[in-house]
C-alpha cells in the first residue's frame, strides 16, 4: 500500500516537476541547434560558435557569479555576526516579527526602493545636496546601473540577510549552539576559538546546502538586475531574456544557446549540492 502510494507520488513528481522542465530544455536545445523555429532551416552549430566567439555569455556568467557570490558572502557574514552578537536582543517579540517583513517584499519592489534611494536623483542624493556635500546631481556617485553592481548587491543583501538571520537563529537554538559553546569553554577554548571551532562550523554545517541554493537563486535573478543593472555585462537571466525577446528572429537561437548552457550549469550545481549533502566528514 505504502509502495503504491510512493509510486503514485513519484509519477506525479515526474509529470509535474520533471517532464515540463525536461520538455522545455529539449525545445531550447533543438532551437539552439536550429532544428526548430520559424527562421531556422535545419541543424547548425553556428549559434553556439557565435555565442562562444562573442564572449557575451562568459562575461555574463563571470559577472553574475561575482554579483551573486559577493551578495551571499556579505549576507551570510552579516547574518552570522548578528546571530552570534545580538541573539538575545533579536528574541524580543517586536524584532523577531520585524525580521519576517523583508521576506514579504517582492524583488521588483525592493529594486524600486533601492533605485529611489540610491539613484542620482534619489533620496540620498537629495540629502547630500541639502547638506551641501554636492552642488549638482551628477556629482553623486553611481550607485545604480553602475559597473560594480552596487545597487544590485545592496538589494540582494537587504532581501537575503533577514532570511539567513532567521535560519541561523533557528539552527542556533535547535543545535544547542549556546550549550556547545559553554562546553567548548569548559574544555579550555577561549571565546574566539569557540566561535571559529564550534559556533560557526555548527551553524554553517547545517545550512551550507541552503546557502548554495540561494547562490543559485541569485545567479538566475531577473527583476533586480533588470532595474538596477548596467547595459553590459548583464546578469544571465537578463541576457537570456534580451536575446530571446529580440525582433531579429535569426538571433533568437543565440538566446536559447545561453539558456541551455545556464540550465546545464545550474542543474549540475544543484545535483552536486544535494548529492554531497549526506556525505559524512571523516578525519583521522
Amino acid at each position: 500500500m505504502k509502495s503504491k502510494a510512493s509510486n503514485i507520488g513519484f509519477i506525479f513528481f515526474g509529470l509535474i516537476g520533471i517532464l515540463p522542465f525536461f520538455a522545455a530544455f529539449i525545445y531550447a536545445l533543438l532551437y539552439s541547434f536550429g532544428m526548430v523555429g520559424a527562421a531556422n532551416s535545419g541543424f547548425t552549430t553556428e549559434f553556439w560558435v557565435s555565442i562562444w566567439q562573442s564572449g557575451a555569455f562568459l562575461r555574463s556568467l563571470v559577472y553574475s557569479t561575482a554579483v551573486a557570490g559577493t551578495s551571499i558572502i556579505i549576507s551570510v557574514s552579516l547574518a552570522l555576526w548578528l546571530t552570534l552578537k545580538f541573539r538575545k536582543e533579536l528574541e524580543v517579540p517586536f524584532l523577531s516579527f520585524a525580521m519576517y517583513l523583508p521576506l514579504a517584499i517582492p524583488g521588483i519592489v525592493a529594486a524600486f526602493f533601492t533605485f529611489q534611494l540610491l539613484a542620482k536623483a534619489g533620496f540620498f542624493s537629495r540629502i547630500a545636496y541639502a547638506f551641501g556635500w554636492i552642488t549638482e546631481a551628477r556629482q553623486f556617485p553611481d550607485l545604480v546601473n553602475d559597473p560594480y553592481a552596487i545597487g544590485i548587491i545592496a538589494t540582494f543583501i537587504s532581501i537575503v540577510t533577514p532570511f539567513f538571520l532567521l535560519l541561523f537563529l533557528n539552527v542556533y537554538k535547535n543545535e544547542r549552539v549556546e550549550e556547545l559553546a559553554q562546553l567548548s569553554q569548559s574544555l579550555g577554548a577561549n571565546k574566539q576559538q569557540t566561535v571559529w571551532r564550534v559556533s560557526l562550523p555548527v551553524l554553517l554545517n547545517k545550512t551550507w546546502t541552503l546557502i548554495g541554493l540561494y547562490f543559485i537563486f541569485l545567479l538566475g535573478a531577473y527583476e533586480v538586475p533588470l532595474i538596477l543593472g548596467q547595459e553590459s555585462p548583464q546578469m544571465l537571466s537578463v541576457l537570456i531574456i534580451r536575446e530571446i525577446k529580440q525582433y531579429d528572429l535569426s538571433r533568437l537561437s543565440e538566446g536559447y544557446v545561453v539558456a541551455v548552457i545556464y540550465t546545464v550549469i545550474v542543474t549540475t550545481a544543484a545535483v552536486l549540492l544535494f548529492s554531497r549533502k549526506n556525505d559524512v566528514r571523516h578525519e583521522g
Binding site: L183, S184, Q185, L187, V202
Partner: protein, 240 residues
C-alpha cells in the same frame, strides 16, 4: 582540601536557587550529590565551573581563589546531562578537541586519543560521527573528551540519566574504572539513589538549594530525608 566551596548563594528573579553552599572535597575523590529535579544541582555545578556567576561566596581550587577565573582557565570540565558532542566532528576529533585547543603537537594528540579510545572500549569507532553512535557510546566519547584534558575537577550533571538500565550499569562501572585510572576528582550529581551510593566516595543530599554532605555512607542511609530507609522498606515489603 583540594576543592573548597564557601557560602555560595545564587538567585534567579528573586528565587533563591542555591542557599549558602559549603563543602570541601579532597583530591582524587568523588562526591556524589543526590537531589530531586529543580533542587539547584545544575546551577551549583555551573557556578563551580564558572559558567554561572554566583551572587556571593568563594570557591578555592587547590588553594587558589578562582572566583574571577574564566571557565576556560579553571581546568574544570562540566559534563552536561545529555551526551552533548560536537555534531560536526567525528569521535576522534571530539575527543581530541581539548588537546587541539591547547595546541599540543599532532603526534602526541594521536597517541593520547588512541589510548583514550582503547580505555573507553571504542576501538573502530574513531571515524564515526555523533549521530552514528548509540547513547552509551556517545556518553563514553563525552567522558573521554573531558578526561583527556586532565582537568583538575570534573563536574558530572546526571550523566547517565538518559541511558537504559543495562547501559547505565555498564557506564557506572566504566566511570569508576576510568576515575581510578586517571585519578579524577569529581562531583557526580544524580537523582538516582543507588547511583549516588555506588559512585561516590562521599555522599551529599541537596534539597531546595541547600546541600548537606554526610560524614559516612551509613549516616546518609540513616537520614530519613534521603529516602534510603523508605527504599529499603519497600524492597523488604516485597520479599515478605
Amino acid at each position: 582540601m583540594f576543592l573548597e566551596v564557601q557560602h555560595i548563594v545564587k538567585s534567579f528573579h528573586k528565587e533563591e536557587v542555591v542557599k549558602d553552599l559549603n563543602f570541601t572535597l579532597a583530591a582524587h575523590q568523588t562526591l556524589s550529590i543526590l537531589g530531586q529535579s529543580g533542587c539547584g544541582k545544575t546551577t551549583m555545578l555551573k557556578i563551580i565551573g564558572g559558567l554561572v556567576r554566583p551572587d556571593g561566596g568563594h570557591i578555592y581550587l587547590n588553594g587558589n581563589l578562582i572566583d574571577d577565573v574564566t571557565p576556560e582557565k579553571r581546568s574544570i570540565v562540566y559534563l552536561y546531562q545529555e551526551d552533548l558532542l560536537f555534531p560536526h566532528l567525528n569521535v576522534f576529533e571530539n575527543i581530541a578537541f581539548g588537546l587541539k585547543i591547547k595546541k599540543i603537537n599532532a603526534s602526541e594528540i594521536t597517541d593520547r586519543v588512541h589510548l583514550m579510545i582503547t580505555s573507553l572500549e571504542l576501538q573502530g569507532q574513531e571515524k564515526k560521527m555523533p549521530h552514528q553512535l548509540s547513547g552509551g557510546q556517545r556518553q563514553r566519547v563525552s567522558f573521554g573528551r573531558a578526561i583527556i584534558t586532565n582537568p583538575a575537577l570534573l563536574l558530572l550533571d546526571e550523566p547517565f540519566g538518559s541511558l537504559d538500565t543495562g547501559t547505565r550499569a555498564r557506564m557506572q562501572d566504566l566511570f569508576k574504572r576510568i576515575a581510578s585510572e586517571f585519578r579524577i576528582t569529581s562531583l557526580f550529581v544524580t537523582h538516582d539513589l543507588k547511583e549516588a551510593i555506588l559512585m561516590g566516595d562521599h555522599i551529599g543530599y541537596m534539597q531546595s538549594g541547600k546541600l548537606k554532605v554526610y560524614e559516612s555512607k551509613e549516616s546518609f542511609i540513616q537520614d530519613d530525608h534521603t529516602g534510603v530507609q523508605k527504599e529499603i522498606d519497600f524492597w523488604k515489603g516485597l520479599t515478605k
